[in-house]
Symmetry: C2
Subunit: 342 residues, 2 copies
């Protein structure tokens, strides 16, 4: 990403004779179209344009997480707009930073795309990254990246955060008697995905752009929860300041992730069924909500984003609903993927 | 990557009845096979196992770079062993950190693999990452990662470094009269790749494992320069301490990368032909050597890894060899890739 941004101000704009795929345009000119859409953010001391970026870490430590989204297993281009892909890539990684009690500061983004990919698709991803950052983590930006060729569109984001002098909130700190609390939607992303599979596919079961658009109009909140989630990123720091004893990002389903927290802490978790909505099983099993599950001391004042949904009990990783044992369920990237490219 | 490492001590070892692909084994058990092969390194305050890692940044800033390697455009499984893939993924990213004058501290690694991928392949990649780090950046380790499903094996590495209180060495600091110097091999990686294409492919032009193995025995240095390079990572800090005015990683060919430095600095670079070996064109055009190109004040004592190969002259990005102008040549990931999976 060493190239100048001069091509972005091409006075010809998007004239029809202009090259429109990354192969036609080439790497340098493609980057020159993408980079002006991104902002490096407040933490960037040196952004795109050299061998590496330099990012502020005032705490003397930094928090880092990485996650890859792959066309087919993780998204379908008939359902997601490029903007939504960029937004979701930012959102999911920011939530992992937030789950440590850290303040997100920056991202780096590596994208591999087929040579036939329209440059406009990459521009859309960049727009989604920028707007997702602006909404969910104001001040954080994109400090670096990489563009590669692949037959499968792949987006790898690595996100950074600063702890501002606090201890990170681990999964292992929950204590018997703590309140179990959750910030964010519960089951909406899974409801959205269920709708997309049920009503957003054509007669042969293939994802369909028109049907998805119609669904989006009828169920905007559920479709957005799946395709462009707005997780409670700022609630991570709020939880840390409120004394959270343990926290994690709920990406694989509340039950599966809650079990991880319970096992790491050497406790059990007992949920109140009344707090989980009408479909308790979906609230427990539905993946990709990207909420924050945290435990707080019994008399802590919960941050506004959090709902109390249960309590920490004696145990070694068990989950309960109203004191009845439940199984963990969730998402394994290699289970049930049929290899279709979406 | 939240799962315990208990499966790694399975007393059955690699018994034949054991699941052998990532799909058969599942995500958790696959990670349990990979993670014990990696070490978090000296900078890790919190490694794999929570939502994010926590890494020391004693300087109050950190250097970060990211790069993706894709099966087909970037490597061929008939030529590269899994160990070599892991080694090269570490080496290339470490060199970008070194090119800032920084000391590499840590990596995060995201891998997307087809469900049919043998777990042993991922173990080999992990072994290569570990040994590449141990050789090229002792003390640095792998602090986090992600495992996804894809039809194309893809390895995304993000690498970090610490500046230890120094200013980063940018591409833009070269001054007229500076010495141009280079650390590392010049053209060997391209010679190795040329050999692989000429003698490592079968009658139909497909990469061939047996032919590549024979080549490896006959030309170990050239094949290693391509498949498992050993770039001069420690020379990056040495250059900074010796007063380097500009530096970059030579990944796309000496001419193409030298032009980037020259343009960023607003100078010309004049190479001494006698220092570039018998095949000057190959030394200038050959990509993937991952050497370090740096400029030093006229009377600086060059670190031992560096050879003087020219001088900085007046200009605006021009390159010369013995004062005769040369064109920039190099590697564009979208130019000339025919989409074959390798």
């Amino acid at each position: 990403m060493s190239d100048s941004m001069s091509a972005a101000s091409d006075p010809m704009g998007a004239a029809s004779a202009e090259p429109s795929t990354v192969a036609e345009l080439g790497e340098s000119a493609t980057l020159a179209r993408i980079l002006p859409r991104l902002t490096p953010g407040d933490a960037a001391l040196l952004g795109v344009g050299d061998d590496a970026a330099v990012v502020r870490a005032p705490d003397g430590r930094f928090v880092v997480t990485t996650d890859m989204m792959v066309h087919g297993p993780d998204f379908r281009l008939a359902w997601s707009t490029p903007f939504e892909l960029g937004w979701k890539a930012a959102a999911t990684n920011l939530t992992d930073v937030a789950a440590m009690g850290a303040r997100p500061t920056a991202l780096v983004v590596a994208i591999a795309a087929p040579p036939t990919t329209p440059v406009s698709l990459l521009e859309g991803i960049a727009d989604g990254l920028r707007e997702g950052l602006a909404r969910l983590a104001p001040g954080a930006g994109v400090v670096g990246g990489d563009l590669s060729a692949s037959s499968v569109l792949t987006i790898a984001v690595t996100a950074f955060g600063d702890l501002d002098g606090r201890a990170p909130i681990l999964r292992s700190g929950a204590r018997v008697g703590d309140v179990v609390a959750h910030a964010g939607v519960r089951g909406d992303a899974a409801r959205g995905l269920r709708l997309l599979f049920a009503e957003g596919t054509d007669a042969s079961g293939e994802p369909d752009r028109e049907l998805a658009a119609a669904l989006r109009a009828r169920h905007p909140e559920l479709i957005a929860a799946q395709l462009a989630p707005s997780p409670p990123v700022s609630a991570g720091v709020a939880a840390a300041l409120a004394g959270a004893t343990a926290m994690l990002d709920v990406s694989d389903g509340l039950a599966r992730d809650a079990r991880r927290l319970a096992e790491a802490s050497g406790v059990g978790l007992d949920f109140d069924a009344a707090t989980l909505g009408a479909d308790v099983r979906l609230a427990l099993a539905g993946a990709e909500d990207h909420g924050l599950l945290a435990t707080f001391p019994p008399h802590a004042a919960l941050p506004a984003e959090f709902d109390a949904i249960g309590r920490v009990v004696e145990g070694t990783g068990e989950l309960f609903v109203d004191a009845a044992p439940v199984a963990a369920e969730g998402w394994d990237p290699y289970a049930g993927w049929d290899g279709r490219a979406g």
